[in-house]
């Protein structure tokens, strides 16, 4: 439904040129929810603005529903934009229009009749749970309600694609959840294709089918959400995951960590279990087969899109040779092992 072909965007020119996007290839199939996650300044906003050409790519082609937007003139592009609803972090509602008139705006722009507008707006307000707010003004609404108005407005022109630019970043966690379930509902009931950008893993985890990771203007990783959360392929992906799971070693331990192994040190490892390894009794096997004591410092189990993910930070307490064998055994299983450092023995 959405295809980006080798899209690049450069701001400025000559020595001061800044490359915001570099060779982005992205395909979002019809009816899916695709997330793009990245840190601030990574190019997320530019990427989503390139889809409806609010930003014109410096190079590359953009297709929506088979139509090449990058090949259209200004008037054709305005027509094509009716196919792409968009919602924003700060809602961007017109303050001097009531809720009803905000939702009616795209239809007014399309020069629909008053009756046609009425027939379209009321069901949308029902869908978004705002039927009783029709005559109120945005200033009287909460953040979540404002975003609902924005969603209703984005749907008014019956788009095939919904672009969400950090749509929940200005909302509290509870409101975020309700907006995300509304988006999911829209995706399922109307079959709408959704492309969203965010810096929140929670958003990706809750509603996305696929996710892309953007860094310095490049898509560095793309995967099904289940795969991304169990085995991110890149270092940045793992950092996002660890931040999300809050599985960083405790500060007291970090202060004791040494980079190199010494004669009297134990390794501290971070284990990421997924798939079959979740149900394997690994810890007791290490103890039994290698004579290693495992001290668990932190552990967590998450369920993501029906898949189980386990994380653990543990100190492997044993002799140097036993520890080496234990690590080898761990790596032979379907899990990710990362040695965070070494601590002096206390025994």
């Amino acid at each position: 439904m959405i295809t980006l072909e080798r899209v690049s965007k450069t701001y400025g020119s000559g020595g001061r040129a800044v490359q915001a996007l570099e060779d982005i290839d992205l395909t979002v199939p019809k009816g899916t929810i695709h997330g793009v996650i990245g840190l601030s300044g990574a190019g997320k906003s530019t990427l989503i603005r390139c889809v409806n050409l609010l930003e014109r790519p410096s190079a590359g082609r953009v297709f929506v529903d088979g139509q090449e937007l990058t090949a259209l003139d200004a008037a054709q592009l305005r027509q094509a934009r009716h196919q792409c609803g968009m919602i924003f972090q700060h809602f961007n509602l017109l303050t001097n229009r009531s809720v009803y008139d905000n939702v009616a705006l795209p239809l007014e722009l399309m020069r629909e009749s008053r009756e046609a507008i009425r027939e379209r707006v009321m069901p949308l307000l029902e869908l978004t749970g705002l039927a009783d707010k029709a005559r109120q003004y945005p200033a009287e609404l909460s953040g979540g309600q404002k975003q609902r108005v924005a969603i209703a407005r984005a749907l008014a022109s019956r788009p095939k694609v919904l672009l969400c630019d950090e749509a929940t970043s200005a909302l509290d966690p509870q409101t975020t959840t309700s907006i995300l379930s509304l988006l999911q509902e829209i995706n399922q009931q109307l079959g709408l294709t959704i492309l969203l950008i965010t810096h929140e893993m929670e958003v990706v985890k809750s509603i996305c089918h696929r996710v892309g990771l953007i860094s310095d203007g490049r898509l560095v990783e793309e995967a099904d959400v289940g795969d991304f959360f169990t085995a991110p392929a890149t270092r940045l992906g793992r950092e996002f995951l660890n931040d999300f799971l809050e599985l960083e070693p405790p500060q007291a331990l970090v202060e004791r960590l040494e980079a190199e192994a010494g004669p009297h040190t134990h390794p501290v490892v971070r284990l990421t279990f997924s798939g079959d390894s979740v149900s394997t009794p690994l810890i007791s096997r290490l103890a039994r087969e290698h004579g290693i004591d495992v001290s668990i410092l932190q552990a967590k189990v998450e369920s993501i899109q029906g898949r189980t993910l386990g994380l653990m930070i543990a100190e492997l307490m044993g002799g140097a040779e036993q520890t080496r064998q234990a690590l080898a055994t761990l790596e032979s299983f379907d899990l990710h092992v990362e040695v965070l450092g070494h601590v002096q023995r206390t025994d």
């Binding site: 409806n52 609010l54 592009l77 305005r78 027509q79 094509a80 934009r81 009716h82 792409c84 609803g85 968009m86 924003f88 700060h90 961007n92 017109l94 303050t95 001097n96 229009r97 705006l105 795209p106 007014e108 722009l109 399309m110 003004y137 945005p138 200033a139 407005r153 022109s157 672009l163």
Partner: protein
Amino acid sequence: MSSALIDLVWQSTLETLYMVAVSGLIAALLGVPLGVLLYVTRPRQILAQPVINTLLGVITNVGRSIPFIILLVAIIPFTRMIVGSSIGTNAAAVPLTIAAIPFVARLVEGALNEVSPGLVEAAQSMGATPLQIILKVLLPEARGGIINGLTITVVALVSYSAMAGAVGGGGLGDLGIRYGYNRFNPTVMLITVVVLVVMVQLFQSLGDYLVRKSDHK
């Protein structure tokens, strides 16, 4: 206070109101579109036209930098062409209008600049034409700021109209100078000032009321 004096004050008040109303109305009709043009032709705006923008900017600044008393006499030939005479209340309204147009334009430009760029972006994402963005987004969203700017303009016009006496335009300022100052009549001076103060208060209150009523921010 003699009835002759009351008549005189009343007559002058009407003259002031007439000059302010005529020049304010025409200046709004021409100044608002100029302000819109100044804004939308800015770089990175919806109708970015750097050359036109610079040109309009220079013209606006020239208009605003000429002292009013000089403008009043400098454009006498133009005034004569428009109203057929270079003296009288109508003649005074011409330079008042000319002075107010760039004033209104800059205030409107400022009011439009207060509209969040996100709203324009949202309208663009809906496929709005530049004209639709101006009429359905920029002007309605800047309504409060524009009314505020027009109020400031009207108050400034009340003050400028005091100089209309220089071309025989009459009005309260002229009354104050001729009767109060030249004939050493402090009563007339005081009455003139009081009427002007009340007039400005009323205009400002009306403007504030309209801003409150029209703005839902």
